[in-house]
Every structure is written in structure tokens, then in C-alpha cells.
Symmetry: C2
Subunit: 406 residues, 2 copies
């Protein structure tokens, strides 16, 4: 007998029929003799509708009230899902964060989990009851409802799986697993049976949308075995596991891309020690994350061009911050380009294989694609290219690393 | 400086614009130097939508989960209303039942209030903060969210006004007060400036929909001064007050009607002691409320016809219960008629005036309207007539008692 946490996302509980179907998926797991705890998101579209109401009333709003309003979507689905389970003769009840309690700090809108009191849930699981926990929400130390931010219900599920020492946390969604790359771009993309936490984390941070980085990070730190699978097909999905569970690695497991990049180039900035610190210090203070950084070669020995990327939403603030330094740093100009895409090849196999980067650069050069920036980590190589090459570049790399399905 | 509880119904918080308008009504009260606590219903249509989801998933459902789902509508509006107040520079925060706590028993779906912990709310009011309380909901002794049943948010408001010893409880709705009768039927109907608790209670139980009996009863018992007024017009409404606050009474204050009646006649039932008890006992045991009862004269000295009314929704069950007694009681037949309406004239002035009933019967007889049943209380006379006479009868009575506006 195992213990499984099943999490169902917004499209999986989008309407009454989908919720009934979710109940059958829970039943299927119970019929295997497992204990099951369920975590649900709000019905697809509901949270956005609530956020919209909040923004229309108060464009700049009190995060306490934002949380009080938007957390209600999950309260609704947890109750409805408990009812659907009861209809199948399964003892079930809904749990809102304050009832468990699922405790967080007071950072409303992006709360951090402090702890989950599992005594009552454990007792109910032992009695055969299925707890249906409202995802995305917590109880702050201020006694008010908090929300966990983007990917919140996944985080709820992973944290609950860790607290309950579950054997697995199944993340049900509308795709049937993690793919070698986006199947909308590469028809020959393959579903991965397994992927390591580290690879999944890089995939998520480099643009893959199936899981949010924070939930993968939490799963990795708490050693929660994650499965990503579809609530629509019923097929087995992708397991996210420890590296030592995978016997033989592909050199490259997947290719991610992100269109959410803006490139900023500071032209003819003094080429001397300390300049980079004086440029990036103020950006960091403004809360702007700088991703890739490339310093061009100095032609005159005195100045060089410096290029870096930020997410598109931060571009205006970054430009403003850099321009404010002009008098101090004495560069010639700042230009910016949002028509770029970041493409990343990811694989733990890179650690033990040479030539991975060379193969990437060659494949792109063969298609005449210019690299505007490069960054690497132990298991990832990212390049910045003009947006118009997105599909061409991804297809070329997918083939080059032997990822195409037969 | 006074203290006012303002309650806003579903149409008053139906959308973002209406919620903004509600905030201005709160501000207007604060600007008069009063402390204000707000109670809100769910946005119009939201509760029905949630009830519909519950029923589609589970036609016969666990009342705990029903409450968990349907109580969320008020959580949303309390947050949104707090935000709208903050936008006007007013310190405000939402309160859900479990946070106060607003304690009830565990009768989910129709919970009774046990008590309201007001210490924190008192402290916030003293600081000038406006509490915006989610109506309709409570915290059961089982630690779960309950709902109070029909008219729930009015009950929340009255109970809160009592607990906070408020000077007045203003019930904002989409009509501008209590009328002498339904203005859709009698164009000359007048808004009442004042009405006694007893009259309001009779109006509500006899079919007037502006307030639910349970909230009026609570207000009467707790001596909470109620005002019914419109959130749309901003005009002063109708005060519901103690009888001694009204110097001169109309003999009749208002005329109510209810189409929700079904008439059941037991033909040729034995005319001997104990028969009525054996007939109505089983109905009471089945939870069916019998309203009007008329025993016809016995023609043969042995049997008579017995007529009574129940609400339309109970008619089928009542017929079944009566038919089951046929062998025991030996009546000839049971017939039923749902094409009836109950019309009631109400006024505390009746106590000191003779001839009120005679005037009613004469006015109806003059129009050729036959009375199928009559019942009276100290401050009310009700008659049952054929449904087709509804408007004619009400207009005749409105004129006969001098209620028509000049």
C-alpha cells in the first residue's frame, strides 16, 4: 500500500464533467490499495476572473484583500471535488488552508510555506477518507488567507506530499508529460519517461511551462518523486526523479525556449575594472534580474559594448536605470531589442560529454543563425538569437542531438 | 457619534461599479461622524451559480460541502468592498466568519448563531477601520464553514448590529423601503416611513419579500433598529421600530399577498372529536406546515368538509399523507387546488379598532370575490381567494383602507 498525492490543475477541473472524471482518477488510485490525498486548482478561468475584478476595483491593491478574494476559487473546487468523490461512494472532505492549517508567512501574494499540521489529515487518511485540499492558499501568521503565487497549487501538492511522506506526487494537467521540446514547434518531439530534478528545473527556468521552478525546487529539496501526467488521456506521464534512478542518460534531454527576453546593449562603455559592478549594482537594487551578460571585445582598448538580457516586463525599468548612470559611467548610448528568443539545450549528460556546445553552435551556424549572447551552466547551454529563427533553431537542435522520434 | 451596520444585498454589489457606489454610501455615513461596520451578500447571481454547480455534481449532497462552496461568494464581495473603500482612502478590511469568529451551531445549510466575538472588531472600529463582514456564513462548532439559510446576510447584519450594540442596522437593497403593498400591482402604493417589528414580521411571513422573517424576528428580539432602503436612489427608507416609537397608527399599514399556497379539501370527513388531531398530527410529523384551516358546516350532522392550506412545494407530500389516512378516517375524497392566493391586511391599529374584518369582507364581496378560507391574528386578517382575483382584491383593499397615495 502506497500513499499518493494527486494534484489536478485548472483545465482538469474546468467543469462539472471534468470534476466527475477527476473523481474516477482518484478512485482508480484507491482501487490499487493506495491512500490518496487530493489537491485542486480553481476551475480554469476562475482565478483570472477574480484577479480581473480586483484590478478593476483597485489597480494598486492591498495584497491581503487580493488573497482573500482570489483564494476562493480553490475553495469552490475542493468542495465540488469532495462531493464528486462522495457520489462514487468514497469518503471525502474538503480542506481549506485555515482548517488544516497549512501555515505560511505573511508575504501576501507570494507566501512561503512555514509548515503543515498533518495530524488530522493522517488520522483521516488512516480511516480511508480522502482529503481534498484547496491549492494555492495558506494561513498567514497574521491569521489571514495568503496565496503562494504562480504555480501555487503545484507547490501545495509537493509540500503536502513531503509533509505526508507520500510515495509520489502526481501532477495532473492537460499535457501528458514533459517533452523533449514544445510539440507545437517540433512534430517529432518525444515524451520523456524520466527526467532528473536538475534537468526539470532548468527546463522550467528556461521557458518550459509544464511545471513552475518553485515546485520542482521544493520537490528536489524534499526528495518528492513527481509525476507529470494528463487527466485527459489516462496514460502514464513523465517521472521527475533523482539522477541515480536514471541508468543511461541522453547527452541532451530537452530543448527549452523563452520569448520573454529583452536585450539591452550599452554602447562604448569604459573597459576598466569596476564598471560592471557600477552598472549591475543599481539594477539588482531595483529588483531587476539580469540573465545573460556578454562583453564585446574592445576595439580601441578603452571602451567596449556590453550586452545583457532581462525579462520583457523589466525592460523599461532597466533602460531607465541604465540611462540614469550615463553621467557617472560615461557610455555613448543604450539600445534595446525585444525581438529575441533564448534557446537552451539541457541535459545532465553534458557533464560527462565534451563537444555539446560545439555541436550546438555548428548546427545553428549551418542555418546561418547568428548568436547574440551565450550563457552556460553545468547542465545547460543557452543562446540568444533573433526571434524570427525560433522554430528553425529549435528544429535544427532537436535533430542534431538525436531527439527526433523515429 | 453613532455606530451603524450597513448591509448590502446582491443587486447592490452586482458588479464593480455597484461596489464602488457602495463604498461611497459607506463614506457618506462615515462623514457624518459615525462608526460603520459593513455586511455584504454575494454578487447577484453568484450564489445561485454555486448552488447549481453543487446540485449538478450531487443532487443529494453533503451539507458541509454545500456550505464550503456556496459561502465563497460572500468572501469575494467582502474583499472587493474592502478594496473599494481603501480606494477612497478609508481603512477597511474583509472578515470571513472563521476570522471573527462568527460562531454558529453545526446545522449546515441553516445554521443558528451561537455568538459573535466582537473584541477585535470593537478595537478596529475604535481605530477608525471599517470591518467588511462576509454575510450568510458562520463558523460551526465542528470547525467548518456553515451557512445561515435564506435571508442569511440580513441575519448576519442584524446579529452583528446586536453584538456591536449598533444604533441602527441599514439594509440596503434594490427597493427604497417597505410599501403599503406591491407597487407593481397598485400604482398608488406608498412607501411607509415607519413600521413596527410586529407588522414587518407579518408582512414578511404573509409574502412581502423585502425582508426575511428570521432577520425581523432577530431584530425584534434584540431590539435592533432596522432601516430598509435603496442603494440605488440614496433616499431615506423605511424604519422598522418599536411600537411605542410610532405615535399614531394607521388601522391597516399594509397589504401582503402570497401565491405560494395550495388548498387541500378533505370531503365528508367524520364530524366528531379527535378527527382533526388524527388528520394534522401526521402532517406535522412529516414536517408540513399547515397554514389556514376551515371546517365547513356539517349538513348531515355526521360528516363535514375540511379545508386547509400548505405551501405549494408541500402539496404533493400533504396529499399523500392525507390519502394514507383514508382507511383510518374514512372520508369520501381529497381534492386540491393550487390556483389560490392568500391576501392579508396587516396593522397594529387593528387591536384598538373594530370593524376591520367587516370592511375587508365587504370590499371583496362588492367585487364578487368569494372567500375560500379566513384566518386572523391579533394584527392580521388573511383570506384565501381564487388566484385570478389577486390584483382586483389587493386594489380594492388598498383603497378601502385609505392607503392610496394622494
Amino acid at each position: 500500500m502506497g500513499r499518493i498525492v494527486q494534484k489536478f490543475g485548472g483545465t482538469s477541473v474546468a467543469d462539472v464533467d471534468r470534476i466527475r472524471h477527476v473523481a474516477t482518477l482518484v478512485k482508480r488510485q484507491l482501487d490499487q490499495g493506495d491512500q490518496v490525498a487530493v489537491v485542486v486548482s480553481a476551475m480554469a478561468g476562475v482565478t483570472n476572473g477574480l484577479v480581473d475584478l480586483v484590478r478593476r476595483i483597485a489597480p494598486v491593491h492591498d495584497a491581503h484583500e487580493y488573497d482573500a478574494v482570489v483564494a476562493t476559487g480553490e475553495c469552490v473546487t475542493s468542495g465540488l471535488t469532495a462531493l464528486a468523490l462522495q457520489e462514487l461512494g468514497i469518503p471525502a472532505r474538503s480542506w481549506h488552508a485555515w482548517q488544516i492549517p497549512f501555515r505560511t508567512d505573511d508575504a501576501h501574494g507570494r507566501a512561503r510555506i512555514l509548515g503543515i499540521d498533518t495530524d488530522t489529515l493522517e488520522a483521516r487518511l488512516a480511516e480511508g477518507q480522502v482529503p481534498v485540499v484547496a491549492g494555492f492558499q495558506g494561513l498567514g501568521t497574521d491569521g489571514r488567507t495568503t496565496t503562494l503565487g504562480r504555480g501555487g497549487s503545484d507547490i501545495t501538492a509537493v509540500a503536502l506530499a513531503a509533509a505526508l511522506k507520500a510515495d509520489r506526487c502526481d501532477i495532473y494537467t492537460d499535457v501528458d508529460g514533459v517533452y523533449t521540446t514544445d510539440p507545437r514547434i517540433v512534430a517529432k518531439a518525444r515524451k520523456l519517461d524520466r527526467i532528473t530534478y536538475e534537468e526539470m528545473l532548468e527546463m522550467a527556468s528556461q521557458g518550459a511551462k509544464v511545471l513552475h521552478t518553485r515546485s520542482v525546487e521544493l520537490a528536489m529539496n524534499q526528495r518528492v518523486r513527481l509525476q507529470v501526467l494528463s487527466s485527459f488521456t489516462g496514460a502514464s506521464g513523465t517521472m521527475v526523479v533523482d539522477e541515480d534512478e536514471i541508468v543511461e542518460h541522453q547527452v541532451v534531454s530537452g530543448i527549452a525556449y523563452s520569448r520573454d527576453e529583452a536585450k539591452i546593449t550599452v554602447i562604448k562603455i569604459a573597459d576598466r575594472p569596476g564598471v560592471a559592478a557600477r552598472l549591475f549594482g543599481p539594477l539588482a537594487e531595483a529588483g531587476i534580474n539580469v540573465d545573460m551578460i556578454v562583453q564585446g571585445a574592445s576595439e580601441d582598448g578603452k571602451t567596449a559594448d556590453l550586452t545583457f538580457t532581462v525579462v520583457k516586463g523589466d525592460a523599461d525599468r532597466a533602460l531607465k536605470a541604465v540611462n540614469a548612470l550615463k553621467g557617472d559611467l560615461g557610455f555613448a548610448a543604450v539600445v534595446h531589442d525585444a525581438s529575441v528568443v533564448k534557446i537552451s539545450v539541457i541535459g545532465v549528460g553534458m557533464r560527462s560529454h565534451a563537444g555539446v556546445a560545439a555541436k550546438m553552435f555548428q548546427a545553428l551556424a549551418d542555418r546561418g543563425i547568428n548568436l547574440q549572447a551565450i550563457s552556460t551552466s553545468e547542465i545547460k547551454i543557452s543562446v540568444l538569437v533573433a526571434e524570427e529563427y525560433t522554430e528553425l533553431a529549435i528544429r535544427a537542435l532537436h535533430a542534431a542531438y538525436g531527439l527526433d522520434a523515429a
